[in-house]
Every structure is written in C-alpha cells, then in structure tokens.
Amino acid sequence: MMLLWMLAIPFMAGMLAGVFGQSSSPFWRDRAPRWLALGALAVDFVLGLISWLSAARSPFLRHRHWLLQLDWNWMPRFGIRFHLAMDGLSLLLLMLTFFLGMVSVLVSWNEIRERVGFFHLNLLWVLAGITGVFLAMDLFLFYFVWELMLVPMFFLIALWGHERRRYASVKFFIFTQLSGLLMLVAILALVFAHRAATGVMTFEYRALLATPLSSTAAWWIMLGFFIAFAVKLPAIPVHTWLPDAHTEAPTAGSVVLAGLMLKTGAYGLLRFALPLFPSVSRQFAPFAMALAVAGILYGGILAFGQTDFKRLVAYTSVSHLGFVLLGIYAWNALALNGAVVTMIAHGISTGALFVIAGLLQQRMHTREMGRMGGLWDVMPRLSGAALFFALGSLGLPGLGDFVGEFLVLLGAWPVSRWLAVLAAAGVLVATFYALRLVQRAFHGPNEQAWKLPDLRRIETLMLAPMIVALLWLGLFPRPVLTAVAPALGYLQSLGKPGILRSDRLANLGVPPRGIALFRPGSALVPPVLFRNIPVARVQALRLQGRAPRPKGGKLR
C-alpha cells in the first residue's frame, strides 16, 4: 500500500496545486502550491526512508530481492495489471527522486512567479510519472507512466523555459515521443510473442521474463527497448535533445531532467532490456559499450567547448551517463554497482550544478560565462559550493562520482581493456571542463563589477544536504551498495551464460512456469485484489516444507 501512496501523494498534490492556482487569493495562488508540493514530497521521502530503514534492519529483507509489492487487477481481458514492486534499485532511485523533487520545489521558490499552481501541478506529475517508472511491474503500466512523465515536462520547458523554449520543448517531445512509440511497438511485439508461445495474454513483467523468443525476434524487440532507453539516457548519437532541453528548461526542470529523467533510461535498461533479453543483450554489449565510451569522450569534449554555463553542465551529463551505460553493459558485479552509484551521484552533483546555474541566472540574468568571472569576490559561499560540485563532476576521490566511475572502470577492465583505457581518459576530459567552468565563472577578475548577494538561507539549506549526500556517497557508500545488492545479484547472474533460466527466475522469486499454485485465483492464494508481498508468503510456505521447491532453485 505504501507504494500506492508514494505514487498517489504527488499526483493528488499536483491536482490540488492546480486547483489552488485558480484561486484569486494571493496566498492560495502563489504560496500554497509550493508548501503543498514540498509537503507531499517530504511525506514521500519519509515513506521511502522508512522502507529503507526497515529493509536494512530486517535480516530477512536484507537479502531479498523485492521489498514491497502491490498487485491489482486492472484490465483482466488484456492481462493488464496494476502491479507495483520495489526492490533496492527502485528504492534508491525513489529516494533520489523525492530528494531532488524537494530541491526543485525549493529552487523554484523565488524563480517561478507566474502560474505557480500549474507549474507545481506539472512538476509533481513529472515526479509522479518518474516514481511510477521506478515501480511499474506491468509493461502496459510502465508505458503509461513513461508517457505520463513526458507531457508535463514538455509544459515545464515550453511555458517556464528560457529564450529558445519552444524549439527545445518540441525537440524534446519529438525525440522522446518517437522513441517511446518504438518501445510501445516492442512491448506489444513481446506480449504477442508471449501469447503465441503460451496462449496467455499478459503484460506482467515476471511472466514475460520467461517468454521464449527466436533470436531474430529478440534482437528486434530488444533494439526497440534499447533505443527508447538510449534516447532518455542519452547515448550518442541520440543525445542532441538533451543540451537544448536542459539549457532552456527552468531550473527545476533541469534538475529533474538531469537528476532523474536520464536515470529512467538507465533504469529501463537494468530492469527491462537486460532481463527480458539476456542472450541478445550479451551479444549487443560490445556495441553498447563502444557507444558508451564514445559518449564519455565526445560529451566531455563538447562540454569543454561551451560558453553557456548551463549548456556546459548539460553536456557533462552525456559524459557521465556514458559511464552508466558502460557499467550496465560491462555487466558484472563491479560495473553494475558502479553504474548505480554513478546514477545517484550524478543526480546529486549535476542536479546541484543546475541549481547553481539557476541561482546565477536569477541574480545575473545571463548564463554566458564570458560575462561572468571573479564571482568568488562577491559570492564566496556560492562559489565554494560550485567548486565542490564541479570537483564531484571531475571525479575527485572522496565524492560520490568517483566511487561510481571507479567501480565501472574496475568492472569494464576485464571485459574490454581498451574501452576501459579510453573511459579512464574520459575522467581526464572531465578535468578540462570542470576546471574551465570554475575558472570562467568564479575565478578570474570581476570585470563586469558584479555586485550580487551571496547564498540566502533557503539556498544554503538546499545545497547543504546535497553536499553532505555527495560526501556520504563518496566516503561511506555501503548502505547504497548493500541496498542494491540483491537486485544486482540477479542481473549479474543474467550476465553469465550457462545458468539455467529457471534458477534465475527462482532467484527473482518467480515460480517456474507450470506451477500455477501461487497465481491469483489458484487454490492457495485467494483472489484478493490487493496482495502485499506474495513472495514472502511463497517463501514462508516453502520454509514450512508445504510448497514444492522449484528444481535447482535457490531459496532466497
């Protein structure tokens, strides 16, 4: 039920914010939506924290893949269910979502002055969509929330964006919409292939995991998913929507885009592209890794060439997400862990750099670094914070990005030494752009004689937790690595050929096909609408010896 709340609270709060926005009283119109949004996300954050802490405390949950589930019938005729589930990977990304969500509300506090209610409606709905993406276990539901996060984001850019907002928002929409359609086609193809093989029409993730596919079909369907996720990630050569969208979006939009929306692409690869098509993905891996390394280097060099503060930061995302892609397709324990840590660390460090870009733009009304310089003179605290996050971006040990990128490199080395060498050179390129950013904006002489206020209290309150989080991730990443271990353990078993599929599915808590005992409606499980943690029940039964153990399956 907690999962439903996580999804519903921002959604409903968004609707309320929209209603408030229509009010004529200035309090309800301009202030209430902000507090409402902040409150809703804070509640979600606490919910996430509770489930994390309870998972970390309980010895039973610590090693289990799925922590929470919610499985309702939705459109039984098409085998569509309202199925949400959370494992360690989703949990971490949800925590990041709510954290950055709060940051984006705070950063809009002074920036957004028009149509406050509608703004927060869009912001909360994007966040709700992202939450849904991280939770959906039904492919139809997944596609639904995937599209849900797209439309409000389009409005955020198109209505509250900067100078070229129309161009950027339309470009963003076309890229993501086209790739989303490709994914829809792939989902349908997969579902029909499953029906053809088993006679059951279902969009259920775990059922589709066991779909028998010819290798040609698997290739095409996998590519459909891959392209959709690669556009979101973004991998080159489909990255060009990103700099425009990130640059033109309002600050909150940039934070959500870079911090969260890009992660949905990586999450999609981890949750769908690899587990659904393990063998073709293995064949595809070298190509994906080459794309990743090209992205690392090319993105970094593009960032180095920019003169617009925000655009520079935007291109760094191409470079960092290249590490994520490399880690995912290097496909071993180290690299996968590294990819996850990079996702979170990048969310924080790049999110914070966008926040800083927003603060600068609010104060200076420009993003052009040629007009900046010497800002350390007037805003030492803001500049110090910017330096900190730039250092995070260049992979300084002790900060989060380093842990992620180093683990990715460690994992990539045995897979392809040359790609690892080139990716390591990407860290060097990060030095170029990060130092250039610091130099052009904050060091140097204050030639324009800027006189600007330093960080206000609310801004300090916003950046300080991000600093702490990045340090925590860099010096003590264990809680994160522990939380994600079961989910990655499963993925890792997919990366090794030769392990029986039924074993893997058993690790995931899926009973092998043919044993319908635990399906809803069967004798053991009454057809209730809402079943929380069915897996736990199965395992409890197994432990009592009353349920048959799948052949060769491990008990987890």
Binding site: I236, P237, H239, T240, P243, I301, L302, F304, G305, Q306, T307, N332, A333, L334, L336, N337, G338, G374, W376, D377, P380, R381, G384, L391, L396, P397, G398, V403, F406, L407, L409, L410, G411, W413, P414, A420, V421, A424, A425, V427, L428, T431, F432, L435, R436, Q439, F442, H443, G444, P445, N446, L475, F476, P477, R478, L481, A485, L488, Q492
Partner: protein, 635 residues
C-alpha cells in the same frame, strides 16, 4: 608504564594525524570566513601542530616499543565493498610511512607558522589556511594509506590543494592558467595510475598494499609482462606528480602560488609523493627491471635538463622550482638503481633545505615588495643578514657542501649507489656528477646575484619571530639532518638507512673500480668548481655577453624548458581546444537539423499544391489517374 604498553596505547592515535588538519579544514571552510584572523591562524596552525605532536608520540612509541612485525595497521571503516572488491579506510604505519609522517607534519607545521605571518595582509587569510590544512590532511592520508585506493584519495587530494593554492590569487588569469595546467598535467599521470590500479586489482583481487606486494612477489617472476605494465603505469602517476620528464612542465608555472605554498607543496612534500609511491611499491619495480632502468634514466635526464634550465631563469622562485625538479631527479635516479632508502634519505634532507630556500625567498620577495626578478635584486647581504645566512645554508646543503651539510650525505649516497649498484653504471654516475656541478653553479649564481653586488631595490619589510623561527629551525636541520646517516668511512652510523631497511630492502653493491670516499671527493671537487665558476661569472660580473647567436639560442631554449611547453601546446592543447570550439554546436545535431529542414522544404513544396484553384486540383487528379492507369497497363 612499561614501554610495550606505551606503544599499544599510542598507536591508535594514528588516525588523528590526518584527522586534526581535516577538522581544521572543515572548520575553516564553513565558519572561517566569519572568524577573526587570529582564530583562523590558531585553528590553521594549531591543527597541524597537533598532528606533529601525534607524529612525535608515534615515533617515540615506534622506537621504544616497535609494533609486532614492524608495522601497525588501523582500520576505521569499510569504504567500498561490492562484488568482491573491498577497500577499507585504513592506515598503515611502518618505518617508511613513519618517516613520511614525521617529515610532512613537522615541515608543514613550520610552514604554517611562517604563513600565519607571511599572509597577514591577504584578504583570503582563512581560505588560505583551509586549503593548507586540507593539503596536510591529504598528504598524511597519502603517506599512511594502507591500500592503493586510499593512497589515490590522498594523491588526488593533494593535487586539488595544489590547484587551489597555485590559483589562490584567482583574480589574475595567469594564476588560474598555471593552476589548471598543474592539475591537468598531473592528472594525465593520474590516469596512468588509475589504470595501474585496475590492472593490479584484476590480477590480485586486492588493493591492500602489504598483501599486494606479497602476492606480486610470489606470483610474478622477475621481468614478467604484467609486472612491467603495472610498474610502468604507476611510474606514469609518479612522473606526473613529481614533475619528472616528460610531465615536468607544470612545476615552474606552479610558482604563481603564494611562497609558503611553493615551499610546502611544490618543494618539500607533494612533489616527492611520486618518490614515495615508487618506494612504497618497490616490490613491483624490483620485478620490472626495464621500468626500473626507465626510472633511473628519467631521473638522470631530468636532473640534467632541469639543472640547465635553472641556470637561465631570472625569476627567483622559478630557479628554485627547476632546482626541485632536478633534485627529485636524483631521487628517481636512486630509486632506479634500487637504492630505495637513499631516495627517501634525500627526500627528507631535500624537504629541509628546499623548504628553507623557499621560505627565505619569500622573505626576500616580500622585503622587495613582491619583486621576483633577480636582475632587480642585489646587495641584500647587509640589509637582510638573516635571509642571507638562511639562503647560504640552504644553498650549500642543496649543492652539497662537504661534511657540514645534510645534502652532501644524501646526495653522495645516491651518487655512490648509482655507480656501485648492479643496475647502476658509469653513465648514470657521470650524469649525477654533472648535476652536482650544475647545482653548485645555479644556486651560487642566485646567491651572488641576489645578495652580493650593488643594491638595486631597497628592502622594506623585516620579518617577525613567526617567520624567523621556522627559518632558524630549518637552517639547523639543513646542516645536521644528514648526520643520521654517515658513510661507512666515517664510522658505522647509517642509522637512517638501517632503520628503513625494515620496510625497504638494502641496495646491493657489485661494481668496483671506485670507492665511496673517492666518489665523494670527486663530488666535492665539482662542488668547488661550480662555486668558483659562479663566483667568477656572477660575483665578478664576468658574464660573457651572448657572443654568438648560437649561445643565445641555447640559453633561450633552456629558458623555455627545452621547448616542451611549446610542443605540448602545439600537439595536444591547441588541436583539442580548436576541435572543441569548432564542434561547439555538435555536428551530430546538424544531422537532425537537416532532417527537420527536409521536412520544412517538403511542407513548403506540398503547401503550394493546396492553392484553392479547382482547375489545378482537376488537373492533378487527371494526371494521377493517367499515371496510375499507365502503371496498371505496363506493370
């Protein structure tokens, strides 16, 4: 209390050595800007003083009650643990890291004390101490790290502080450029270092230093390919950090930073981190003879090239910077011939006398109102006697004045090993000897130009005790610091190298044909020759006018650091910057823009067809029907 218990009680303090300066950094970075200068100075200097006390306690415990096995390990927490990779935040104290701990904390303390006075008028006072404290914390982490990843954390931390302190006066763009150059060039080396870590972990499944050395020695035969690759990659990191060929170009520019920074980071401690790294992983280098030869050759070449460049510079600090590069070349030479402890010995004495030289240079520069050009100095002997004697002592120690200076003992040990060790040879020895001549020549050139002759700029500022005390202390150390390790003919008193042999194996001696006293005598003669030449050329002002274009061209070539800056600029920097600038708008996006444009054109063309004229429509329909009919007939 019994000595054994005393050690057990003291050793757990180890983590405090880096923790004190780090806490100081945190305080200064968050609250320092609002605190008074006095408070900033107390925290900044006090935290390093506290580390020094911890270091002294540990040293006392180490001598009175050595830990079992000659090493003490303190684990704080598990840093990263994922998929078979496990690294802890853990410190390791053995003879080698103890020496580093002592040298780093003590010299840092003196330089912090000096800075409290030297930086008194700077408006970034607390920022300066924040960076300096972070530096000390990182440097101690580097020295005490129990595994290569933690060492790398300290390694990058000191690189960051170096960047921040070179660019400390950030309003001047040139300083920013020098700072970025330093960070980027050292990071080129660090990339190699990273790859070395990847290789080692994938071979041995650990980055724990003692374990790694043990496994490498057991599993890799001498001269095996992975050992060579691993050692070469680590060497890449060491070459960058220690400003050796071919990555030495950043150090002279790094002199843009405040002088205490140059003394601490770019002379005494950070730049010797590469030497420490190689000594720390000496097992790997012992397994890779070609790489060790490369270390020796790099060292010899660097010490000569940098010595020549030092001769031609006019900036007081740049001369000292080239001198640092040259002296670290000696340390690399020692490492290359397997004389690990001789390298560490020279690292220590060099820290004393080079820090001394820089601190005195700071006094001179401040007294002359920020004048760096030695052509505008002269005759300061009378007005700044304190600085004069400090500089003479430092200079003599650097050039190796026989018997009474520390530099003599450490350098001559290296020269002797370069001759006698099995991997040494006459060529390396000759290079080192030429270096002695060059060193004496350039440092006495400096002394004669700055302190003798006629006065050109009147000194303004006289230093106070906080500046004098560190200079005095370092002067004493520069004189007596070498007595911890006397050559055999002066008695069996090689305490320092014997102490280090617990951590570093002693060097072998094979080659005859020369004895150690004879080698020292030759070095002494070359020192005297250099001194005489400098006196003749610079004190008597017999500097020959550039007689021919050729001599002047050589001078300019050396002045420009053998053209390497120019080369890197032309080969790497310019093409990259040009490409980035050219591709600012991303050529890939042009492809998508073309697709969009094609659609716009198509729309424009097709739009014309919808013009509202019935006749046109009828004509099109007819034409279409005809074409369809034709296709139906012929196809």
């Amino acid at each position: 209390m019994r000595p054994a218990n005393c050690g057990a009680d003291v050793y757990p303090l180890l983590a405090l050595a880096p923790a004190f300066p780090f806490a100081g950094f945190l305080w200064l970075a968050t609250l320092g800007a609002r605190a008074s200068r006095k408070a900033a100075a107390i925290v900044g200097v006090g935290s390093v003083a506290a580390s020094t006390v911890v270091a002294a306690l540990l040293a006392f415990a180490f001598f009175t009650a050595p830990p079992p096995g000659g090493a003490y390990t303190q684990t704080l927490w598990s840093w990263i643990a994922a998929g078979g990779f496990s690294v802890r935040v853990s410190f390791y104290l053995d003879a080698l890291s103890l020496v580093m701990l002592l040298v780093v904390s003590f010299v840092s303390f003196l330089i912090h004390l000096y800075s409290a006075e030297f930086m008194r008028e700077d408006d970034g006072y607390s920022r300066f101490f924040a960076y300096m404290n972070l530096f000390v914390a990182s440097m101690l982490t580097l020295s005490l790290a129990n595994n290569l990843l933690l060492l790398f954390l300290g390694w990058e931390g000191v690189g960051l502080c170096s960047y921040l302190l070179i660019g400390f006066w950030y309003r001047d763009r040139a300083n920013g450029r020098a700072a970025r150059k330093a960070f980027i060039v050292t990071r080129v080396g660090d990339t190699a270092f990273t790859l070395g870590l990847l290789l080692l972990f994938n071979r041995f499944g650990t980055l724990n230093l003692p374990r790694l050395m043990h496994l490498a020695a057991r599993q890799w035969p001498v001269g095996s390919a992975p050992a060579i690759a691993a050692a070469a990659l680590l060497l890449g990191g060491a070459v960058g950090k220690s400003a050796q060929l071919p990555l030495q170009t950043w150090l002279p520019d790094a002199m843009a930073g405040p002088t205490p920074t140059s003394a601490l980071i770019h002379a005494a401690t950070m730049v010797t981190a590469g030497v420490y790294l190689i000594a720390r992983t000496h097992v790997l280098f012992a397994l890779a003879p070609p790489v060790r030869l490369a270390v020796a050759v790099i060292g010899a070449a660097t010490l000569l090239l940098a010595g020549c460049s030092a001769l031609t510079q006019y900036d007081l600090k740049r001369v000292l910077a080239y001198s640092t590069i040259s002296q670290i070349g000696y340390m690399f030479l020692a490492l290359g011939v397997g004389a690990w402890s001789a390298a560490i010995f020279h690292l220590m004495t060099h820290a004393f006398f080079k820090a001394l030289l820089f601190l005195v240079a700071g006094i001179v520069i401040q007294a002359l109102h920020e004048e760096h050009d030695i052509r505008k100095m002269g005759g300061l002997r009378r007005d700044l006697p304190y600085a004069f004697w400090g500089f003479v002592i430092g200079g003599c120690a650097l050039a190796g004045l026989p018997l009474v200076t520390a530099g003599f003992y450490s350098k001559d040990l290296i020269l002797w090993r370069a001759w006698s060790s099995p991997s040494g040879g006459p060529a390396l020895w000759v290079a080192g000897m030429l270096g002695v001549l060059l060193t004496a020549l350039y440092i006495f050139r400096l002394i004669f130009l700055v302190f003798y002759g006629e006065q050109k700029t009147a000194p303004g500022h006289w230093p106070a005790w906080r500046i004098k005390l560190p200079v005095l202390t370092l002067s004493v150390l520069a004189l007596i610091g070498g007595f911890v390790n006397l050559p055999p003919w002066m008695g069996k008193a090689a305490f320092f190298t014997n102490f280090l042999h617990a951590a570093l194996p002693p060097a072998a001696q094979t080659r005859g044909g020369l004895t150690e006293p004879l080698s020292e005598l030759i070095a002494a003669c070359l020192f005297a020759l250099g001194l005489f030449l400098a006196w003749w050329l610079y004190a008597l002002r017999r500097v020959p006018r550039p007689a021919s274009g050729f001599v002047d061209a050589i001078r300019r070539f050396w002045f420009a650091d053998w053209g390497m800056d120019w080369l890197y600029d032309a080969v790497f920097v310019r093409p990259l910057v040009a490409f980035a600038r050219l591709d600012r708008h991303d050529v890939i996006d042009a492809g998508y823009a073309a697709v969009a444009r094609v659609h716009v054109w198509g729309w424009r063309i097709l739009r014309r067809s919808e013009n509202g004229r019935l006749r046109w429509y009828a004509a099109w329909i007819t034409a279409g029907a005809v074409i369809l009919a034709a296709l139906a007939v012929w196809a």
